[in-house]
């Protein structure tokens, strides 16, 4: 096990996980001294009846609760500003964010504005710009992937500038995360697959990138094993409540891991693909994850080899020669993507050329790849990638990920 000579680890989120945990929300709010929460969600979540489930579970203690369900799939500065004015209009004193990564990140953005009494979110972009505790925020994730319920980060798009803004501060940690498998039961199989692979990417990059430490490693390894054990079964049997809880737990574990060790080039490129071409984050992570490991292989071969154990099980690990374990682990991720492609009738993508927008057009075209590569060079996660990454490197990886072909490792610059 790798033990750096110095590391920091923090997870101050009260996590309430299991069956029937939504009913605990009023007591959690009361402990925080809050009485009037604003529920922030999106139309998909409210349309699936999940907000009704949350409201019903709190009805006895909180009979009325304003709900805002107009959060788009990509968190956006304008939406954050609008929701902040709704919070102020209703004189709310807390936020309950019910949704996936976009909703949770939007809620964090709103909480910055209302807690700081500010109008310009851009004043708080970057690392450690926040200097004081924010108002109470309870996160109720409806996807098992982002881990945003336990992370110090929020990613909010600036669509006009075509980039994603990263906000990082310990004050962005929600006060509580409520993980109830009822919230993910209605998630369609292809979204279940993509979001679980998002969590997988968090765990794998937490374990292989520069800021890894023994505590984040423990969370990452457990997350990988839980995802590998349950993901295909849950995609095939969406009503598997135990499997849903296992995946939600894995997402939280992976969130704790990457929040304390950050992530690398899979996210560097993935954030930029999302910002430029609006491809869902989980899809980007699933496609780019094997490429990230392949690109860094000469620097992280030992760590990647260790991943074979949680990724494929003890028997495969024991019967694989040590020199082949790293490449076998990468192959295991590709096979998992292919199994999910088959289990979702082709709706879980394994390369960017398969990704289409709702109108059936190619989401990523040739000229986009250059824009994505240029945007990636300004993403903060690039600091934590084991190997350096310049414009040509980004182009090479993105082109291979578009085709779905493994990287030609002889072209990777080493120095």
């Amino acid at each position: 096990m790798y033990v750096p000579d110095y590391y920091e680890f923090c997870c101050g989120v009260k996590t309430v996980a299991g069956h029937g945990t939504l009913e605990r929300i009023p007591a959690l709010l009361s402990d925080m001294g809050a009485q009037k929460p604003l529920i922030i969600t999106d139309k998909g979540v409210s349309g699936a009846g999940l907000v009704d489930t949350v409201i019903a579970s709190m009805a006895e203690a909180l009979p009325t609760c304003p709900v805002e369900d107009d959060v788009p799939p990509d968190s956006d500065l304008k939406v954050v500003n609008r929701l902040a004015s709704v919070y102020r209009k209703h004189k709310c004193d807390a936020i309950i964010a019910v949704g996936g990564g976009s909703v949770l990140d939007t809620a964090k953005g709103v909480n910055i504005l209302v807690s700081q009494g500010a109008d310009d979110l851009m004043a708080f972009t970057g690392a450690n710009a926040l200097k004081q505790k924010l108002n109470p925020l309870i996160a109720v994730p409806t996807t098992a992937g982002t881990g945003s319920e336990v992370t110090v980060a929020a990613v909010i798009a600036d669509h006009e500038a075509k980039k994603k803004m990263l906000f990082g501060s310990p004050f962005l940690l929600p006060d509580a995360a409520v993980i109830d498998p009822r919230m993910t039961l209605t998630l369609p199989p292809h979204i279940t697959a993509a979001t679980a692979m998002d969590a997988m990417a968090h765990a794998v990059e937490a374990y292989t990138c520069l800021s890894k430490n023994p505590l984040s490693d423990a969370h990452a390894l457990e997350a990988i094993e839980l995802i590998r054990t349950h993901i295909v079964n849950v995609v095939r049997n969406p009503d598997d409540r135990e499997g849903r809880l296992a995946l939600a737990t894995a997402a939280t574990l992976a969130g704790i891991a990457f929040s304390n060790s950050t992530v690398g080039m899979v996210h560097t490129l993935g954030h930029s693909v999302g910002a430029v071409c609006h491809v869902p984050h989980g899809t980007c992570m699933a496609i780019l994850l094997p490429y990230g490991l392949e690109y860094n292989l000469h620097k992280i071969e030992e760590k990647t080899a260790e991943l074979l154990f949680p990724m494929a099980g003890s028997e495969v690990y024991a019967t694989t020669p040590p020199k082949e374990r790293a490449t076998t682990a990468i192959a295991a991720i590709r096979k998992l993507n292919q199994d999910l492609f088959d289990a979702t009738d082709g709706r879980h993508f394994t390369c960017f050329s398969q990704v289409k927008d709702p109108q059936g057009r190619q989401s990523i075209t040739g000229p986009d790849i250059e824009t994505i590569a240029a945007t990636a060079l300004g993403d903060g996660t690039i600091f934590y990638n084991p190997e350096d990454l310049d414009f040509e490197d980004c182009m090479m990886v993105l082109s291979a990920a578009w085709d779905g072909a493994p990287l030609d490792r002889s072209k990777i610059k080493q120095g």
């Binding site: 750096p4 990263l166 800021s211 950050t262 993403d379 903060g380 934590y384």
Partner: protein
């Protein structure tokens, strides 16, 4: 009350002298590289005019400040951070952490990964500044030391290595 010996912090004078010298040299080398190296020039062109960044140790320095003026010229602005508007702070959490960095016992990415380096400001600009400093270190340091300071040693032509080094070091010394 019993008599006691008041112990005052010694202030690590030798380390501070070394770090002040290194920061002075690196700051002037950044200014020189912006005139010599195409990539450094390009990185600065993408930064806004009037943009200043500071690198140093918390809480009392030493610091170096480099900025791009309204005419687009890159200048080493000295070690005083108090009378300037700083857009990007790259702060090592202590003099010891800055010493690790500038004795090349630890690279910039590893310093960041081990929570010794904090960045306050716009992240895309911070990425550009780190790329600039990587190139400057290649000009200033012998290969075996530069390899400890950066993630990947670049494959430059012999001409760039020799001519570039001479120009950057000469301009750094004369401050032009």
């Amino acid at each position: 009350m019993e008599d006691f010996v008041e112990i005052k912090p010694k202030g690590k004078p030798l380390k501070r002298i070394y770090l002040n010298l290194m920061l002075w040299f690196v700051g002037r080398a950044i200014q020189a590289s912006a005139k010599v190296d195409k990539k450094v020039k390009q990185e600065f062109e993408d930064l806004p005019k009037g943009y200043n960044f500071a690198l140093g140790a918390f809480p009392n320095g030493p610091w170096m400040v480099v900025g791009k003026d309204d005419d687009g010229r890159v200048r080493y602005l000295g070690r005083n951070v108090k009378d300037k508007t700083i857009d990007l702070w790259m702060t090592l959490k202590s003099v010891e952490a800055l010493f690790l960095l500038f004795t090349f016992q630890e690279s910039t990415p590893v310093s960041n990964a081990r929570s010794r380096l904090f960045v306050e400001g716009d992240l895309p600009h911070a990425c550009a500044v780190v790329r600039i400093m990587d190139i400057v270190q290649v000009y200033l340091l012998p290969k075996f030391i530069a390899k400890l300071a950066i993630k990947r040693y670049p494959r430059w032509s012999l001409k760039q290595h020799i001519i570039g080094r001479i120009l950057v070091n000469a301009r750094t010394l004369i401050g032009y």
